[in-house]
Assembly symmetry: C2
Homo-oligomer: 545 residues x 2
Amino acid sequence: MTRAAMDTFIKSFTIISFLTYGCVSATPVKASTPNIIIMLMDDMGWGDLGVFGQPSKETPNLDKMAAQGMLFPNFYTANPLCSPSRASLLTGRLPVRNGFYTTNGKARNAYTPQEMVGGISSDEILLPRLLKKKGYVSKIVGKWHLGHRPKFLPLEHGFDQWFGAPNCHFGPYNSSKRPNVPVYNNSEMVGRYYEEFQINRKTGESNLTQLYLQEALGFIHQQSLSSKPFFLYWAPDSTHSPVYASQRFLGRSSRGRYGDAVMEIDDSVGQILSWLSTLGIEQNTFVFFTSDNGAAVMSGPNESGSNGPFLCGKETTFEGGMREPAVAWWPGHIPGASAGGGFLSDPPGCKRTVSFQLSSLMDLFSTSLSLAGVSPPNRTLDGLDLTPVLLNSHPNNTSLTDRPIFYYRGNQLMAVRLGPYKAHYWTWSNSLEEFESGINFCPGQEVPGVTTHVQKEHTMQPLIFHLGRDPGEKYPISVLSMEYQTVLRRIAPVVKQHLDSLVPAAPQLNMCDLAAMNWAPAGCEKLGKCLKGPESLPWKCEWPH
Amino acid sequence: MTRAAMDTFIKSFTIISFLTYGCVSATPVKASTPNIIIMLMDDMGWGDLGVFGQPSKETPNLDKMAAQGMLFPNFYTANPLCSPSRASLLTGRLPVRNGFYTTNGKARNAYTPQEMVGGISSDEILLPRLLKKKGYVSKIVGKWHLGHRPKFLPLEHGFDQWFGAPNCHFGPYNSSKRPNVPVYNNSEMVGRYYEEFQINRKTGESNLTQLYLQEALGFIHQQSLSSKPFFLYWAPDSTHSPVYASQRFLGRSSRGRYGDAVMEIDDSVGQILSWLSTLGIEQNTFVFFTSDNGAAVMSGPNESGSNGPFLCGKETTFEGGMREPAVAWWPGHIPGASAGGGFLSDPPGCKRTVSFQLSSLMDLFSTSLSLAGVSPPNRTLDGLDLTPVLLNSHPNNTSLTDRPIFYYRGNQLMAVRLGPYKAHYWTWSNSLEEFESGINFCPGQEVPGVTTHVQKEHTMQPLIFHLGRDPGEKYPISVLSMEYQTVLRRIAPVVKQHLDSLVPAAPQLNMCDLAAMNWAPAGCEKLGKCLKGPESLPWKCEWPH
């Protein structure tokens, strides 16, 4: 992929013409070892993109990406919380299979706060390690969240480079009871949030997204000069509470600080895609944009996004918790929308590209392997290879059309989607105690018998919704109807087969210990930033929801 | 505007090139007496278009219209119910000013069922009558709803042609207690719903939208051959319960019959716009697409659409009742989105065109007059001329930036929006009695103290929301905050001025009479379809909500 200047010039000229016409004239084909960029947002909701209906329409670049690429309105995460979702992306497996769950409570979502002892198991094989077989150079920029103790860090699991942090940017802390979260450059820390990497909690100002953008652009440029393909996992966290944006973006959105953060991310996405074009590698780079879980609506209107028409948000297994914004972009391969065309019949090869495929964050694992020509590892995977959909070569692939989506909370299977139907076997928003203390996972929404404040079992008679006519999960289908019986007869064996064959991994997120926190990350000595933690005193972590 | 065949050919070729590049290279200018098409949907919600976030993405033509035109995410109707809303569109005035309200109950929305005695007052001057001053030929296709007694019909108020019905397509009726609603061709009925114009209530099949499409295409063609400009008011009603679609569309949507109806309308919109291009008159035809009120969510998931992230629906003065999908399209004049462009900087003249202008159905009255070069009538108008926004000539016009939106229920001012803020002076969903009988105007939604089942007065201390950060009206701003005080100080004088200067018209929708129904519409003799009604026995109509 080394590009001489002339080659680049000619190529980018060709590309601009292509984009102008907005359509593919030949049958798309798979490039060999294309670069792969996965952009994973933090707590961004389905309804946060203009193209998914955000009234403030503040994502021109993402909307354009969608117009030129493929939109997935039925794309799901693997868990309604950050750590398990991210572990699933990189392993292609449900949290219950990769160990990113807890058994300390029923149906609780666990993650990796600083006191977490565990992290990604050494038994798991992560995507960058597999891509290495075909010579990929991999970098993660941004939030890791698969464990912060040394053996869990990205460079131990196949990434070649990292710029970012292992945990959420909560804080500031005073360094005695809790250290500020470190920011790493590769295997060593280069500072800490609220110290070297400022986030002004009052104004919401931080330049971190700009740093994450520059790290991405720099890596892409380096790799465009090399002969090796790259995998970039771009995971900014500015849309996670405490929400932040750079000074240039603060106050620009009509919906406050959260919208400012979205605008900065949108701008960054535009810059990254533009950079691929400038370097002439956009036809050789597969890009996928999505989010780790639904908008954190419990954080209130200033600190969270929108789940559009869907029920509840982050932490829940309602659609608002797990349906994600998703856009694929790969000029010349994924047929883009003929957005520039008229109302007259579209030229041959041009078509609107909205894929209604039920798809999952875990599919990005299998899809990336397929794009790179790497065989999947010998273990149960929950993701599917989406290339037949993306490249439009096998639109009627049955493994894809019949695939279920499983909604877990911890290791508890809560619900299943098959086709347009979703069956809830358990429902729960959060506990009445928590709800009454002001923590509301479904603000402004209440569906009697559905958004329950006790863990309500429906296994004998699941609540079934048709998500086409009822995306908001407001109207359970009558159990007396023929439709209910027909659907249940289809879903029940799928659930049974899934549960019967399931071999859960050992839970990795059960134990907490203040000594496990980021007191003295590698590299702290050079900076004089090593802190002394307390003696080890492990306890079983508590997970309230 | 007569077009020779060669002229048409050359022109359509030019246009295709223009559309392919998707942008305007010169400063747009106003054409003299352009044709005007207003497409007014029935009970279609803000969230029913792909471009406004409908997950089933079933509106490729409307999405393309938006990509080539201008999208208005902050567009409002004048009333959350059909008749008053339509009266406001054609008079440019709030229902309280044009008489389309009742005083039989407080804060009740009245409309024109068959037993309604009243209709549009002869004191009102409707848009087509004014456009006639510049030679416009006007046609209404579809639902009228401004009164069905002879003096209220469209041809009595300035329209030259009509194909459609005066009332909702409720039924079927047995012709004894209630006649089926007539369908008119100009000034005479040509049949009745459920008789000559079939709607199969069981299957939902009806070819009415196809008839309405053909009437539109035929009128446009006729007028393209004449030297006079035209005004087409295209008002299909298939998305109003009972929802219907043609056989070709039934079962096509993933959200059931309502989605089928949307797909048929979308297809029709595409055909109409394409037809304008084929005839070479698209650069001389202003088209605006919107809806009469929010989705009728009380009708349940099979018979109603989506209000996206907004609260409640039809009949209410929450955002779901009055915020409407809205798209303007006028190639060569309204700067369209550079949807075909790349991520590199857009060519000069190309820009995304989403207008956040607070705008109203009533603005289409003033805007149409402005486009046609007709002076507004000498009376209070509530609509504003949007041409500075549409033609991008005066983006900072203060009368436009500071304009309030008034939310009425009947003649009761319920709420006001100014900038991003909305102040509710009264809140009400529907009565507890009605709610407990199963009629829910806000299914799945409940905001304590906001979606109240009593008419709750807040005039001393209005509930204020910031619709940017809180489009769902879930988080009233604290009355103790500085923000609340500042906003109230801005809104209060606007409300006071509005109410102090308001001169309500006499209410036209107070009296009902079974004798007023469509027993013997003009033309019934020729068809042998005259029915004998009862003796006149007027009563004060009851309006439950």
